[in-house]
Each structure stands twice: as structure tokens, then as C-alpha cells.
Amino acid sequence: MGNRSIVPFGPQHPVLPEPIHLDLVVEDEKVVEAIPSIGFIHRGLEHIVKKKDFNDYVYVAERVCGICSFMHGMSYCEAVERVMDVDIPERAKYLRTIWCEMSRIHSHMLWLGLLADAFGFESLFYQCWRMREKILDMFEMSTGGRVIFSVNKVGGVLRDMDHEMLSNFIKQFDDMEKDIIELTNVFLEDYTVNTRLRDVGILTKEQGLELGVVGPMMRASGIAFDTRKLKYAAYEWIDVEPVVATEGDCYARTYVRIKEIFQAFDIIRQAVKQIPDGEIAIKAKGMPNGEAFVRVEQPRGEAIYYVKGNGTKFLDRFRVRTPTFANIPSLLETTKGAQLADVPILILTIDPCISCTER
């Protein structure tokens, strides 16, 4: 047995802007155990639901996280709509789908940039974030916001995208796609990048199932599951199949996210082709009385929303189980046996969002 010591990782660490702390038990340079500690930014957002009108709470739900803000707002609305038995107009479903997939591209590009930064490839980081800016510009054009969009409401959406805007976006996506192919080839083919990602932090399919892993991390371990198959928003009319890899290492997780960027472009093209004309919202009458679960596929994986209403304008409970929360146990598992120098990359490849996790 080598020298055993405990190395603290976080809560402030250059690789991760958000606070998570791990006590890494190491033998020489090898990690034998990781003990997590979270709770630095718990804000009690779920509890506010008891004091805020359920319509106004959309704006709080969106603020659970700055990266998946649209999806948090949309999923909260979907859960309330389910309780109230409201079927929103088809056009609104398609608009939600388009914004969801734009959020996925933006989130994955942001993550690729952070990954490049973590293994010290600064110019790759700049390029990823430069591309991401284009998506943020499109968000601003279509919603007025770059981070928080406030376009969801119970009963539909607040803003429409006309044919001209959608065509313009598709043209921009075509151009972006060419640049992103070139950019992501560096992640997939560059020798030095590969040495940092391949065979690092392997999570097998069996371990993945045992630990309840979700999202790209799950699919990178060979588990073909994607919550978009459950057909929320307009996904029932969209052709979408899970992107899967089998190696279960950091490279496979990068591969899955890269392929999901191109899949998102394809989904948006399908949605734009199929979007019908018509209303973008209907009036939701009455007050929510009852309960509902909704599952959606956020960029980081399956998220679960639970809403319980009591017939008044205040809900009894709103609960979000975020993908990062579900992926923490698998993160701990993959760090076992890893080299200390690989831990930052390992943590990054679950694409952790601590704001989401702690709410």
C-alpha cells in the first residue's frame, strides 16, 4: 500500500466555476475514494412555490439554472399544464422544441469549451465559445434574452418566431454546422486530446444501470435511453434516436455530446419544416388541483419535475430532480482508481451543474 492521504478538491477550483467539494482519498497519485460535499449554493427555490402565484413561478423556475433556464421554465409549465389538463397549441409545442434544441447546442458548446480549457487547449476553448455566441445571438433575436428568456407561460409561449426568422436561423445553422464539424474533429481526432480522454474514467453499462446514471453519460456507457422518446413538447412528431457509444470513458462522453449537437441541428430542421401556423398560447382556466410528474431530456440528461396543486393559486410542492444530482454517484465511482491529475477532466465529463443540483 502506498502513502495514503486526503486531497481536498474544490469548492473553488479552476476547472469548475461552480462549488462542489470532494475529499479525495489518494494512495500516492491514485484515487481510492471520493467523498462528496455539496450545499454551498442551496437557495430553497422549490420552497418559494408556496408563496408565489403558480403563473409567476415560471420566472423562478427559469432561474434554477442559467444554462438550462428555458428547459426548467418549459418543464415546470408542462407539469402544471398536465395537472390542469391543458393541451397547448401545436405551434407552441414546436416553438418549445426549437428553443430546447438550441439550448442543447449552446450547452454542449459551452461544455466543449470548458473541457478544452481543462486540458489546456486555450484556442480550442475560444473557438467553442465563439460558436456558442451565435446561438446566444439567436436567442436574443427570438426571445429578447441571452440567458433567461421568459418565453414560457402556463398554456403555451409568449413569443412567436415568424417564417423569415426561422429560415434565417436554418441558414445560420447550415454555416455553423460546417465550422462545428471542423472544430469537433479536433476533440475526436487530435492525438494529445485523445491521450487525455481515452480510457479515463470508464463507467461500464452495468455500473451505469446500477448507479442510475442519466443523459450523455448514460448513453456513453452503451445505454440507449433518451427521454425525448417520451414525446413531450413536439417530440412526438420528431424523429429522434439516442446517440450511443460503448466505451464509457471520457472520450465516449465527448463523442456523444458532439453527435448530439448535430442531432439538435437535425431536430430543429425537422421542426421548422413541420411547424404549423396558428395560436401560440391558450388561456389556462382555473387553478391547479392534483399532481403530475414530467420527465424531459435536458442537455445533461433526464430531469424530473413534480408539481402538486391544492386548488389555490399557490402550489403545495414543486420538485426538480436534475441530471447532475443523479450523476453524482457515478462521478464518485469513476474517480476510484483514477490518477489525481485526471480528476478535473473526470468531474467535467459529467457536465456538472451545481446551481441546478442544489436549487
Partner: protein
């Protein structure tokens, strides 16, 4: 189209047995959620197998001690610590018990009110 799912009522003493059966049938633990009700708590344990989504509901008084399922589903420790920290649910035998320190909160069990 909306996802269909079941919510099945369960007695607290049947929880661990049920979890073991689900584990044997290759279900994964998806989430555990607590809701404060007048007499105590409503706990919902959600499991999934591929696209199937199954929920078990425990309605318990405030003083009831629930046995942890973290011995069956290792990942339950985070959800159980969360329920303990925020709602004050009595949960026994958690495999990694933070004893009220999962979240760094000033006021103990803030969601219990």
C-alpha cells in the same frame, strides 16, 4: 401525447422489500420526493426501467422512522439526506448519513413548516 405512469400506495414496512424486488427486476431509482402534509409526510419513490416509470407512495406520520433503501439502491443516500435535511423526515440506516449537513443551511429542516 403524455407519458403514462403509476403511483402505488405502500406501507413503510414494505419499502425495503419492494426496493429489493425492483432492484432484482433491473429497475433504477429515479428520484425520491417528500411533500409536507398536515399529518406528516407524503414520500414518493420513483423507479424506471427503460421507458417505464413507476412510483410508490408512502403516507406517514411525522414521528414514523423510515428505513433507508440506500443498502439496496446505493444512490438513494443523496435523496434521503435531502429529505432529512430539508423536511426533517426520520430516515434510519442511510449508508452515507450527512446528519443534517448535506446542504449548508442556517435553519434546520426549513421545509418542515
Amino acid at each position: 401525447m403524455r407519458e403514462e405512469y403509476k403511483i402505488i400506495e405502500l406501507q413503510p414496512e414494505r419499502l425495503v422489500d419492494t426496493a429489493m424486488r425492483l432492484k432484482r427486476d433491473l429497475y433504477r431509482l429515479v428520484q425520491i420526493c417528500a411533500v409536507r402534509i398536515e399529518s406528516g409526510y407524503e414520500l414518493t419513490y420513483s423507479f424506471a426501467k427503460e421507458y417505464e416509470f413507476l412510483n410508490y407512495r408512502l403516507v406517514i406520520n411525522e414521528d414514523v422512522v423510515v428505513t433507508s433503501i440506500s443498502g439496496v439502491f446505493e444512490t438513494a443516500f443523496l435523496y434521503e439526506n435531502e429529505m432529512k435535511d430539508l423536511f426533517g423526515v426520520n430516515i434510519d440506516l442511510i449508508n452515507l448519513d450527512y446528519k443534517g449537513n448535506l446542504y449548508r443551511i442556517e435553519k434546520p429542516t426549513p421545509y418542515k413548516e
